[in-house]
Subunit: 214 residues, 2 copies
């Protein structure tokens, strides 16, 4: 089987489609058209059909998609039909906020360990987790079969922590803020840059001003 190249934007949209579909399901809606999905999330109907077509044939012409089936199928593609244990490195304000972030729990991500090298933070409790020293990472990773780590440490320490996590055989890392980390080719790193979303806002503000002048 030839490895299919799926655009990352498609994967991101699948995440977003599934959230929209779950809201429909909660309202008792059982079928949906690609146009309705498109309208609900702000893309074109052709885009919805193209994204889903990467993964096979869905839906019935003139009837649309079965909401429940489509949710299940997308979650399967995204690897979300099982829960994932995650560790968090960094118990500062961001790390503390992430520990209780509802969006992780809703999607089946369980934070099973929080680590820091700051002696004033080690031993502190965040929600129902005790902040542990970095040396305890291998033990928790093995015990909970952890594959994913979230790095929420100051920018200057991100590469060092990433190196340690790669050394402990983790293959998927999430970082925050304006930072680029070097990892081996078999490790996936994604970065959350919160300013990107603010820039969509400024684009809209400026673009609107421009068009109201002309």
């Amino acid at each position: 089987m030839k490895a299919l190249r799926i655009p990352e934007a498609t994967v991101t949209r699948l995440s977003i489609y599934s959230r929209f579909l779950e809201r429909l399901e909660q309202r008792g809606i059982t079928t949906v058209s690609s146009s309705e999905i498109a309208k609900g999330v702000g893309v074109s109907p052709a885009q919805v059909r193209k994204d889903l077509a990467y993964f096979g044939e869905f839906g019935t012409r003139g009837v649309g998609y079965n909401v429940k089936d489509l949710i299940h199928y997308i979650l399967k593609i995204l690897g979300l039909t099982r829960p994932w244990n995650v560790i968090l490195v960094g118990a500062g304000n961001l790390g503390t906020a992430l520990c209780t972030y509802r969006g992780f729990i809703d999607r089946g991500f369980n934070i099973v360990g929080v680590f820091d090298n700051d002696l004033t933070k080690i031993g502190k409790r965040i929600h129902d987790l005790e902040v542990l020293p970095l040396e305890r990472m291998p033990e928790v990773i093995e015990q909970h079969d952890v594959k994913i780590a979230i790095i929420a440490v100051p920018l200057g320490s991100v590469q060092d922590i990433a190196d340690q996590l790669v050394g402990h055989s983790l293959k998927a890392l999430l970082t925050f803020g304006p930072v680029v980390v070097d990892v081996p080719g078999d490790v996936v790193v994604r970065n959350v840059d919160l300013a990107v979303k603010l820039e969509i806002l400024t684009f809209n503000l400026v673009f609107k001003e421009l068009h109201s002048i002309i």
Copy 2:
């Protein structure tokens, strides 16, 4: 002039291209091809050319783009050739982390006011800002010509805060977590759902496993 419909994914990629270009500029690189930009950010060269083509003619065939000019042009499109004053509602862990988030400062976003309705937080200092009660929002918005607000309050209070901000004439709101807010049509709302990025990681983990089995 007909209002051009720019896909949001294009705007997001422009943000990302500009970050990559700034790193090139810091390394003293003066020209770049669409293929190099594409490789640096993980999209196709055709995508880079298409995204830039929305905004006119750039670059010289066979020579590429002037890095400095392209950065300036993209920042202009995104509305980032001027600084933006922003207020933050919610002085919990997330709000506190956002106050010192380097990625905002780097891109010209200045948080000029932090607000909360929790009496134990009001009066507290975060970095060089004092947490103010919600009633002080109109005064700070007017004084600093604020157009953008970040909402970092518990999910159950997001709609109420959004309503208040819309009442104070703000036109651009950023929210966090699994929440959908209702606002008038002339208000732009964008949402940061941190789980979306984790789902790109799980997709990659599962997809890789699948292809190593087959």
